[in-house]
């Protein structure tokens, strides 16, 4: 399997503060990889670095193409969709407009209707709310919208930042079930998650981030049995 995403010696800076201290990892095409870690470990920053929203050093390659010198909107055009922390919803716009915007960065213009059908198939509630302002949706619906909007890009890599945050367990389970389905259609997923149990269930590969460094990595079934992980992140 060739690497879809390859990150080497990544350092990231907010002003003078260093948030990542040399993160290296690579992820295979077609899989679901998760980044685990405590608050402030650098999980979100890693995603932001890939989307070029933070100043970095080191290399980031997507299908062999260097991303470091690209702008965020150019990264998007390569087929990397980022559903950010806080969901990034356009709250003033309707659900349908949010979804239309999701398709803005992709190269092929046609077939919008098929994409709408596909995401409404995953998230039927969005079809009911399509004319509603996105800001009026519930938290779970907004999270669904965030994923749906990312899918409108027809991405090859989906970056998801804490899709479970603040949602009821039932809603979370529903979203994660759909993420699995999405992955089976060929979309690779890089997932940042605080809920380690859920993330380990979904992902096939795991990286553990601590204060801006990768301290452990491996297939999720192996890491699930690791004592340190169990105690620190799974709580038993």
């Amino acid at each position: 399997m060739s690497a879809l995403l390859d990150v080497q010696a990544l350092e990231a800076f907010y002003g003078r503060t260093k948030a990542l201290h040399g993160v290296s990892f690579s992820m295979a095409k077609g899989g679901i990889t998760t980044i685990l870690g405590a608050n402030g470990a650098g999980k979100t920053t890693t995603l932001r670095a890939i989307s070029r929203m933070v100043r970095t050093t080191g290399t980031i390659r997507f299908e062999g193409e260097a991303l470091e010198r690209k702008a965020t909107e150019q990264v998007v055009q390569l087929g990397i969709a980022h559903a950010p922390e806080g969901r990034g919803t356009f709250v003033h716009l309707t659900v349908e407009e949010n979804l239309r915007l999701g398709a803005w960065g992709r190269r092929e213009r046609g077939g919008l209707k098929d994409d709408f059908d596909r995401v409404f198939g995953y998230f039927p509630v969005l079809r009911e709310r399509r004319r509603q302002a996105a800001g009026t949706l519930s938290g779970g619906e907004q999270q669904m919208l965030s994923v749906a909007r990312a899918l409108m890009l027809r991405p090859r890599l989906l970056l998801l930042d804490e899709p479970s945050l603040g949602l009821a367990p039932l809603v979370v389970r529903e979203i994660f079930r759909i993420l699995k389905t999405i992955n089976q259609t060929g979309v690779s997923i890089l997932l940042v998650e605080q809920n380690a149990a859920l993330a380990l269930d979904l992902a096939d590969h795991v990286f553990l981030l601590e204060t801006g460094r990768v301290v452990m990595e491996g297939p999720s079934e192996v890491l699930r049995k690791d004592d340190a992980i169990r105690r620190a992140y799974l709580g038993y």
Partner: protein, 293 residues
Amino acid sequence: MDIFIQQVVSGLATGGIYASLALALVMIYQATDVVNFAQGEMAMFATYICWSFINAGLPYWVAFLSTLGIAFVGGVVIERVVIRPVENAPILSIVMVTLGLLVICNSIAGWIWTYVQKPFPSPFPENPFRFGNIVFGAHDLGEIQVTLLVLLCIYLFFRFTPLGLAMRAAAHNPVSSRLVGIRVGWMLALGWGLAAVFGAVAGMMVAPVLTLEPNLMGGVQIYAFAAATLGGFTSPGGAVLGGFIVGVVENLVGTYVHFIGTELKFTVALAMIIVVLLVKPTGLFGTTVVKRV
């Protein structure tokens, strides 16, 4: 009663001009949080360009449309060249840059075309329209039509085209816009281009009334500020309505409150700004912008 209706219609006509310029101010404010103090002067400059075209023998509407095209390109270029480099500077610095732009536009216009007042043609017939005892100036009625047409076009553009949608998205939420692949910088530049077009329409419509000179838009811009403040700097629709309200109030107060007359009309606009800021700082239709610090 006849006089009242006449004054209202004439107020709507000037109000349309304020509405156009106020809309330009609000568009730029929404997209960049900057009040463009040079908006009126850019409009004045565009009006001079139109005057030059007409003087060179072009038919009015050809000159009018060419000017709109030039204004659009000019707005985009000004954003790229002048505003872009200070994009991340504190708001006050950007405001100072727009003030500098105001002075530059004004001086260059004076340098090229001198400060002598020039008559500017109206494309509308000279004879007034009569409905019974009420007389409406043809230019007033034409002005209202042009304003409404421009507003309709811009509404349709923002409401129904993908580019309009992307521009709205970029104005409301630049970070998320980048994440869906919108080139936010260019959307802002297009916004400046469109704002310059509204300004140019306002300038070309008001010039036949005030006659053309480099300080053509000074007063109009104050009224446009009043309109935008009244309607709310965060609401394009509000700014338009604010423009019409300011135009009508200005006219009625000038007609019926004798000590104000024509001399003190200007103070009415400033008084309106102060009252709105005291009573409802967000304007009639504005929303409070909550910012995380």
